[in-house]
């Protein structure tokens, strides 16, 4: 028997590789779920669909059409642009720049502390805390912050986390201490981090080339999740882990971690990973800049439009190339009696559509969705 195995070793290996390739081409095993039928906690609420788009550009008072991020904060909306922080309140835009004390005008990430209401602003030149109308600035020169390129900032209780070009930084607002996490003290591939999110007592860092770094607040221990296929741009074995190691953002809600990459989307329920691609789901594109989960719904910002899903349905918002109109594409996935996967697609014209298909930031509340795009900010109303 032993000899038999040794003799046929290469044959078995080859068969395995062929099977992997077949699976990767879409012949999903029967017992596995199709990409559209994933495992987020089932929620009876219908998938929200937004419309009646209103687009804002410099003509409406934005400091720049290049919008990088958006955050709803009660009755106001905070938008990070290439030329400063824009705040929409009572129907008016107000801009804050370095002249007002902001650390840098390239605002790429914003979060609001639930605890204090302080606004934390990640920029291309440092981190600002905006509180009571005043900016307090943290840089790599005046503080323990890892690096001035702050791609993402989030608040987690009293802690503020940043994903920077020099590692992830944890700032304790009580002790005023910074802790830096890089490849030297965390399971990272390199110090470059792109995104960070919090949930369930854990921090999820999107580490460039290093997959997802999970940090447990209680134990202060790290765990990393990487693509078992390495840096290959195709997912050889579906749902075996994150779809790629070059991760761009993470977001946690309703017990589900969502991870965006430039090669597809992943979800993780704490036990199983699942991958989503534009070929087998309602994703607008595999090139995903940012992801934000809100309750059972996740919003996915890509280079070809904004997608959202609750696990069963997908809604994608796109703009036409040659005019300001566009389309809302709704895809519902299900199974036939013979368990084969089927989906229905419905396309609803929208006029106007979102401002641009290259989308970098999104936030939504019960009534509105706000989208940061390459050419302006879009606001959509929840359609009843």
């Amino acid at each position: 028997m032993r000899n038999l195995i040794q003799k046929n070793y290469f044959r078995y290996l080859l068969s395995g590789v062929v099977l992997l390739c077949i699976f990767s081409m879409g012949f999903t095993p029967i017992e596995k779920s199709p990409a559209g039928l994933n495992s987020p906690k089932d929620d009876a609420k219908p998938m929200p669909v937004y419309g009646h788009w209103k687009n804002f550009t410099t003509k409406d008072g934005l400091p720049s059409d290049h919008a990088y991020c958006v955050r709803i904060d009660g009755n106001r909306v905070l938008v990070g642009t290439h030329d400063g922080l824009a705040v929409y309140e009572n129907g008016k835009w107000t801009t804050y720049t370095t002249k007002d004390g902001l650390v840098h005008n390239g605002v790429v990430s914003i979060d609001v502390s639930e605890l204090t209401g302080d606004v934390w602003i990640g920029t291309l030149g440092g981190l600002s805390r905006w509180s009571g109308g005043k900016f307090e600035n943290f840089t790599q020169f005046n503080s323990g912050m890892p690096n001035d390129l702050v791609y993402c900032v989030i608040c987690d209780g009293k802690d503020v986390w940043t994903a920077t070009a020099g590692g992830a930084g944890q700032y304790d607002t009580y002790t005023k201490q910074w802790e830096i996490f890089t490849e030297k003290n965390a399971p990272m591939h390199e110090p470059w981090t792109y995104g960070v999110s919090a949930g369930d007592g854990k921090i999820y860092i999107a580490a460039w080339g290093g997959g997802i770094i999970e940090y447990t607040n209680k134990t202060k221990k790290f765990k990393d999740y990487t693509d078992p296929d390495g840096e290959m741009e195709i997912d050889l074995l579906p749902d075996d882990g994150p779809v790629h190691d070059i991760t761009t953002a993470t977001s946690w809600a309703n017990g589900m971690l969502w991870v965006s990459t430039y090669f597809g989307l992943s979800s993780y329920d704490g036990t199983h990973w699942k991958g989503y691609f534009d070929t087998d789901s309602g994703l607008a594109s595999n090139f995903i800049n940012f992801v934000r989960a809100k309750g059972p719904v996740v919003f996915i910002c890509s280079d070809k439009g904004l997608s959202s899903t609750d696990g069963k349905s997908w809604v994608t918002y796109k703009k036409n190339e040659n005019n300001s109109d566009g389309m809302t594409i709704i895809k519902n996935f299900g199974r036939n009696d013979d368990s084969t996967v089927v989906h229905t697609t419905k396309e609803i014209p929208s006029s106007p559509a979102i401002a641009h298909n290259f989308i970098i930031g999104v936030d939504a509340d019960k009534e509105f969705i706000w989208v940061a795009t390459e050419k302006g900010v879009s606001r959509g109303e929840l359609l009843k």
Partner: protein, 665 residues
């Protein structure tokens, strides 16, 4: 007999000569009395002598009055106690032990509970006023000082003076609910009469480059949204200790100092070192911020500390710790002035020494170092905590006369060091009472300002104020190390250069020196090193601090290692050094290596305060590796080094028997 006389003469004359030389070298003068006991007894480290020559005072700091006016609750800062006082019978009824170095007290609406902030133990003592016992202790941020209860009594706001934030404590579950960042070194807290907003004042100005207008933050918290809704810059002012609202809520008035640190210090005789007054904020939309002085053309009223306003809203009382008096301000006159003055005129008033005659209606003398104030419920009596008198003054708010004093039962004798402390806190030795030691060294520490200390040749020497905590074993003094002793520092040169007045008598100089060298101590470093057990980061930083080789394995020259110049326990080798930070406008000097204990509490850094944070010493001002080899370090290593530096604390907390501490002087 003749032999004894001859021997005596032989010993006496050379001995006297030696003693004279010794005293001259220590004092820098030739006529300081040759009285060995005047220095060697007060400065003795012998335990028995220390015990004999000192006393434990109460040092009342703040106080509160019960709703029926029948009890005073007095914070005895150095007695570590809350004293229960019967004001009618002038009796101290009870002494309730609280935490370390208590600061403020506030009573709940029902008058059944007192909350006492303990600045040096990072907690609040909850005292049941029926049993007069501590019923609970609430954890706070670092250095709890001012206190205020929310309008509904559910939350206790604790102003953390060292960590510069505000703890919001949920009194139901007795835990910290949230924490807001505040201004720099905040202390005062007051809820508006409508209960909607909390004002928190800060003492130190926000760190800014020398030459920028000083700004001290007033933090405004909205009760309903539980958010900081405003951070107002109070310009050209600092040491904003306390704030009070008029009962109608139309004005918020706070005490303040307007320092003239951007102007050469030789301007003292022109009245340009410090001015003292109040900042008023109109409580309406687009309400103005107005600053009015309490000084007079030839007399300054230094170190305003507390302010209270009578229930009828007519009078404000302000304690001046530096000149032992209370200013009485007629608030209607202030209102009239505000009404008739344009913004331009008001701006002028903020520097006008004569305008106080329009609204200051009386100066009521008090005992030494008046601090906290409290009014009886009917507003007819004003109680004054006379910190260095160990008593409470009782002032009739109608006749504006002191009608009584209540002794708290502290020692009757005034020790040499206590006398020194009184001198330290009193402006009487400065030209027109412009300032005292405490003004620039609040809490006997430093005020965070950089002064233009013009030299005799009129050169510009920017000088970052240095702390006076535990400096006994760290001579020489001043950044240039010119003064080998405190006797020299505070002797005739001091009066010539700074106070522009008669120098201290030698008796006073001895007392002042005794206090400075034996009575000023570091608070514990509860923020960064509460137990002595260093964190992982601090331990790594310690290794860097003590390293002899760089990251490449090359030997670091001995004179470029941290540990060489900053040797424990005070982290100074007491020598002069050049670290490449001399400015073009500085006199050509080397710098006295500063001690580093509690260095986290002394921003800005370097001799001229150019480094806003410890990091900036190396990230911005250490590029040439002259202030220790640092450029081989990565960011993690620099962070570790900084975390270690922040952990440094006083030797007494490290069980190093460097001196004998007497808790109260």
């Amino acid at each position: 007999m003749l032999i004894i006389v001859v021997l005596g003469l032989i010993i006496y004359f050379p001995g006297r000569k030696l003693a004279r030389a010794h005293v001259n070298s220590k004092t820098g003068v030739e006529d300081h009395p040759l009285m060995c006991t005047s220095c060697h007894i007060p400065l003795s480290k012998n335990k028995l002598i220390v015990k004999l020559i000192n006393s434990d005072y109460y040092s009342p700091f703040n106080l509160a009055v019960s709703k029926d006016g029948g009890r005073l609750y007095v914070v005895a800062q150095e007695g570590n106690a809350l004293l229960v006082v019967d004001p009618e019978n002038h009796k101290v009824l009870n002494k309730i032990k609280v935490g370390k170095y208590p600061y403020g007290v506030v009573l709940d609406e029902a008058g059944k509970i007192a909350y006492v902030s303990n600045q040096w133990s990072d907690d609040v003592s909850v005292i049941d006023l029926v049993t007069e016992k501590v019923s609970d202790t609430l954890k706070t941020g670092n250095g709890p000082a001012g206190l205020s209860l929310s309008a509904d009594g559910k939350y206790l706001y604790v102003v953390n003076s060292f960590s510069s934030d505000i703890s919001v404590i949920d009194l139901k579950n007795r835990e910290e609910h949230k924490r807001f960042s505040a201004g720099n070194n905040p202390t005062g807290a007051e809820l508006s009469p409508d209960g909607k907003t909390l004002y928190v004042t800060s003492r130190r100005a926000l760190i800014a480059p020398y030459g920028d207008t000083l700004k001290s933050e007033l933090t405004v918290v909205d009760e309903s949204t539980e958010r900081v809704i405003a951070r107002r810059n109070i310009e050209s002012a600092y040491l904003i200790e306390n704030v009070a609202f008029t009962p109608t809520g139309d004005l918020a008035i706070m005490t303040m100092i307007r320092p003239k640190n951007l102007i050469p210090s030789i301007q003292v005789e022109q009245g340009w070192m410090m001015t003292y007054g109040i900042t008023i904020i109109e409580q309406k939309e687009k309400g103005r911020v107005i600053q009015l002085l309490l000084d007079e053309p030839n007399a300054y009223y230094s170190d305003p500390y507390d302010i209270v306003i009578t229930p009828d809203g007519k009078k404000a009382f302000i304690s001046h710790s530096g000149v032992n008096c209370i200013s009485v301000v007629d608030i209607d006159s202030v209102r009239t002035l505000l009404k008739e003055s344009s913004p331009e005129i008001l701006n002028k008033w903020s520097n006008n020494l004569g305008i106080s005659s329009r609204y200051v209606i009386k100066r009521i003398p008090t005992g030494a170092n008046p601090k906290g104030l409290a009014l009886s419920p009917d507003g007819k009596l004003l109680y004054v905590a006379e910190q260095l008198e160990d008593r409470i003054a009782v002032i009739n708010t109608v006749s504006l006369e002191t009608i009584n004093t209540i002794s708290l039962g502290g020692p009757r004798r005034i020790t040499v060091a206590r006398q020194g402390r009184r001198l330290f806190n009193n402006s009487g030795h400065t030209f027109q009472n412009q300032f005292d030691c405490y003004t620039c060294h609040p809490d006997m520490h430093e005020d965070g300002l950089v002064y233009n200390m013009a030299s005799k040749d009129m050169g510009r020497n920017l000088t970052n104020t240095q702390s006076l905590r535990d400096i006994r074993d760290t001579p020489p003094y001043k950044w240039n190390g010119k003064n080998q002793t405190v006797y020299k520092q505070d002797g005739i040169r001091f009066s010539t250069v700074l106070t522009r007045s008669e120098q201290f008598s030698y008796e006073d100089l001895d007392a002042l020196t005794a206090y400075i060298l034996t009575g000023i101590h570091y608070p514990p470093n509860l923020m960064y090193n509460p137990t002595g057990e260093l964190t992982g980061s601090q331990l790594r930083g310690k290794e860097i601090f003590e390293r002899t080789k760089d990251n490449s394995g090359n030997v670091i020259p001995e004179n470029n290692r941290c540990i060489t110049c900053h040797t424990p326990p005070y982290y100074t080798n007491l020598k002069l050094a050049s670290v490449g930070t001399l400015a073009a406008t500085d006199d050509s000097i080397k710098f006295d290596t500063p001690h580093l204990n509690n260095i986290f509490a002394s921003p800005p850094y370097l001799h001229d305060g150019r480094a806003a944070t410890l990091e900036e010493i190396w990230t911005i001002y250490g590029k040439e590796d002259k202030h220790g080899l640092a450029n081989d370090m990565n960011k993690n290593q620099l962070n570790d080094l900084v975390e270690y530096l922040k952990s440094l604390r006083a030797p007494e907390y490290e069980n190093i028997p460097s001196k004998i501490k007497h808790t109260s002087l």
